[in-house]
């Protein structure tokens, strides 16, 4: 019961983009931190990341009839 509630909560957070920054952090840890790219792509703060994420998300057709 508790675990399915937790699952639903995770699904909701993922769907809404509530955990986008956490995803970014894990992507960063995986892909950038160990390489030279680290210098070119410094880690963004939550506010900085959210700005970029939101602006990019709206660059194209996102809604339909």
């Amino acid at each position: 019961m508790l675990s399915s509630f937790r699952k639903a909560w995770r699904l909701l957070r993922r769907l809404s983009g509530d955990d986008a920054y956490e995803q970014y952090l894990s992507h960063y840890a995986l892909k950038h931190s160990a390489t030279a790219e680290h210098e070119q792509h410094p880690l963004l703060t939550k506010a900085e990341f959210f700005k970029q994420w939101q602006d990019e998300k709206w660059n194209g057709i996102k809604r339909c009839c």
Partner: protein, 689 residues
Amino acid sequence: MTPLLKTIPWLLIAVLGAFALSAIALNRGENISALWFITAALCVYALAYRFYAAWLAATVLVIDETRATPAERLDNGRDFIPTHKWIVFGHHFAAIAGPGPLVGPTLAAQFGYLPGTLWIILGAVIGGCVQDMVILFLSTRRNARSLGQMARDELGPLGGTAALIGTFTIMIILIAVLGLVVVNAMKHSPWATFTVSATIPIAMIVGVYMRYLRPGQVLEGSLIGVVLLLLSVVGGRFIDADATLRLVFDREGLTLAWWVMAYGFAAAILPVWLLLAPRDYLSTYMKAGTITLLAVAIITLQPTIKMPAITAFIDGTGPIFGGKLFPFVFITIACGAISGFHALIASGTTPKLLSNERDIRMIGYGGMLLESFVAIMAMIAATVLEPGVFFAINSGVGVVGADAASAVAKISSWGYPVTVEHMQLLAKQMGEESLFARTGGAPSLAVGMASIFGSAFGESLLALWYHFAIMFEAIFILTTLDAGTRVGRFMLQDMLGNIWPKMGETSWTPSVILTSALVVSGWGYFLYIGVIDPNGGVNILWPLFGIANQMLAAIALCVATGILIKSGKQKYAWVTGLPLTWLIIITSTAAYQKITSTDIRIGFFAAANDLSDKLAAGSLSVEKANIAPQLIFNLQFDAWLTVFFISLLWLIVFDMLRVAVRTLNGQPVLPLTESPHNPSRLVEDWVRD
């Protein structure tokens, strides 16, 4: 399990589905429960998904689970992200399901419940779902390229240009007709106008909250927004009750149309975080919540359908829009059965999230099945109303007359009895002054939804449910409107950028203002004409939108068919070729009738000539004579627009046939642009988190 045991449940589903379909198809004169509609739809969907979609995936497209998707290969942690299939499904469905599947079935209910219902179910499983799934597959195999790019790469520059122009014009018509639906829902309704207006500052509060007060806390911000929205529905009642405040929100259609245009312009130039993004969150939650609620209510309450299976209006004399059953039911219900617009989402946006090709069936085919189901629910909500009430709400004053007594007399004379008292009582229950001639589909859908919800939660709440339903429709209509205006602005900037590069800079203020103003005046023009049109405007704009949307679907299916043939799969080209042929037949017939028909309720030129004859003869009232020149010009313009749409369609059909014939003859064609096979490295449990 033995094969036989596995087959039995599917046989039962097939029998049940056939039984439910024949129950709704053969029923005459008796009241039928909405549960039959749900059963028929779900059984057909289940069979189609289990067998047809699975066959498409395995045999036609040859889905390869071991192949890395663009999301995996190009993973950048932002737009390309391998994502769990249910999450992608959620995003995809939220993107494709707009107000279209709610409005179309409501309007098409003038033919009775049967034609629309059959087209929604069968059109989706054979046409719409196939289009969405195949385009999603093709784009996934091409680094998530857009439909326009794929058309250019695979067919040639002609196809690419046609797709681009098609997308732009359909956007303009779509926004205009949706704007008209909102305006008609708010006209002289202080409660609805207040609630809809309140969604703008509420979205801004949420936007500021997410951006500055608590950056990135999307769910917190959304929760605040949803609570405020519900309060605004309740608050509207107090505005409506207040003698002075209600005057502020009690407006003519034309005034509201100017407000909507000003809003669209503001939304296109304001930063997205302030208005577009937060409004989109709110509308998505509202949409998901309300549609779920409606489904639960229909399944548990099993309302009775009051509309007959088929009405006399299949002969083309219908009050909501003119034109015979064939081809107009197929034009009126675009979204819900097949919608070209989905191809724009299925290419470009969704493939960037797909973690494995095997999810294509569920997201492409399954997503459209769910949209089709939404359309079925809209059909139910429209047909649970007494037919007399349904026609009283949806018939324009140009058809039934402006005063209540003549309207009810006319509607009753069609065999759908309704009284002034009944309409007044209903309006009072819904908290409105009048429900006559509230064209556009939104008010009648809201009355239908309110009566379904009302029977579950008590009649005293009818007015609240009605305005909740209006707010729910308006909020995502406005989301489509502002997102569409913005996309239109980008497309226009892109096109103008080819002529003058400076115009192509999306952040150069003069370009932003100029292109936004151009896009808004484009749809604003159609909206303005729609509002002043005494026949309600929807009767002209909706068929135009339907033709445009089906044309875009035909373009997408041309691209798909062309690629299937180029890939050596001509044996299976019928899977997209069949729906394509049907779309070509219905759009061409509809366009032909819209252009050449001598019936003034169908033919644009006929209507224009009739009006100018009347104007010349002086037989129009002063009021009508004043607007007649604009209406005449618009009718002629619409006729030429239809000519343009249909020429564009045939151009791309011939372009596709050219590519097909050259391929089959072994002559050189543009090479396939499928990206090479890269093995997937994603570990199952890692990405499926």
